[in-house]
């Protein structure tokens, strides 16, 4: 209650946009693996004719500790990020702790035509980028007329 009253946003536009998304979301069909708003890590997906691109925003994580698995067309990303905060005492005060700490797991449904043997993953500036190729036979072909 107190938080709602006094937590003024310095970014009204993004707050409104989030609110709008929430309202619109009531009418659309949910995924069987729904994701709460603000889940960690946030994920963006992209698609090209030859690949599926996954971007997971996992800042401050040791890339080696990330566990990525693909089983059929499900991609599972698991890991742990433990933020060690200094202990509060009369000389130290923690004013804000918004950052996620603990174990996390996200599951993403991939399209049916992905080739799980052709996956590359890289970690840069806190973003894990996984690129999965689509199967060659599923890609559009241009047919030459003889």
């Amino acid at each position: 209650m107190y938080n709602n009253l006094f937590n003024f946003s310095d970014d009204l536009f993004s707050e409104l946009e989030q609110l709008q998304r929430q309202l619109v979301g009531r009418n659309i069909v949910s995924n069987i693996r729904p994701v709460a708003r603000g889940s960690f890590p946030a994920i963006n997906l992209g698609s090209t004719p030859s690949s599926v691109e996954v971007y997971a925003f996992v800042p401050g994580v040791d890339a080696k500790s990330l566990d990525i698995q693909i089983d059929k067309n499900l991609l599972t990303l698991q890991g742990e990020r433990n933020l060690v905060l200094p202990k509060e005492d009369n000389k130290l005060t923690v004013y804000a702790q918004e950052r996620f700490s603990g174990k996390f797991k996200r599951v993403i449904t991939l399209p049916d035509d992905v080739d799980v043997s052709k996956v590359t993953a890289s970690y840069k500036e806190g973003v894990l980028h996984i690129s999965i190729q689509r199967r060659a036979e599923a890609q559009p072909k241009r047919i030459e007329i003889q």
Partner: protein
């Protein structure tokens, strides 16, 4: 693969900005502020103090293949921005900043004269 801005993944980059998540800790020597800016390369981070307001800004740059279409976006903007009012005892000219794995760490020291002193109360 081409290095490009995030316009395909985040089509509404200009409309809204993301609010970076932070941790703020105060010690006797000053404040330590950690802010999450995943996807922002060092050269795209701006830290500025003006009129006692500390502003953090960053722009995401991702490696995206050509002709990529966004199909799902939980990060719906390419820009992070957040501002904090500093208190007078902080020395904004001596802010130290470092960045690693998408996390920006700022140390904002207190001015020498503002550091706590134990005051002896004379009873007599």
């Amino acid at each position: 693969m081409t290095e490009s801005t995030n316009k395909t993944v985040a089509p509404k980059a200009e409309l809204a900005t993301l609010r970076p998540l932070v941790t703020i800790v105060e010690e006797e020597s000053g404040f330590t502020l950690t802010a999450e800016l995943p996807g922002v390369p060092k050269e795209n981070v701006r830290v500025q103090v003006e009129n006692n307001v500390l502003t953090l800004e960053g722009e995401i740059r991702l490696q995206t293949p050509e002709h990529m279409e966004s199909t799902h976006a939980e990060i719906g903007s390419a820009k992070y921005k957040r501002a904090f009012t500093l208190s007078r005892e902080l020395d904004s000219t001596k802010i130290e900043a470092s960045q690693r794995d998408g996390v920006l760490t700022l140390h904002i020291p207190k001015a020498e004269h503002a550091q706590p002193r134990k005051i002896e109360v004379q009873i007599g």
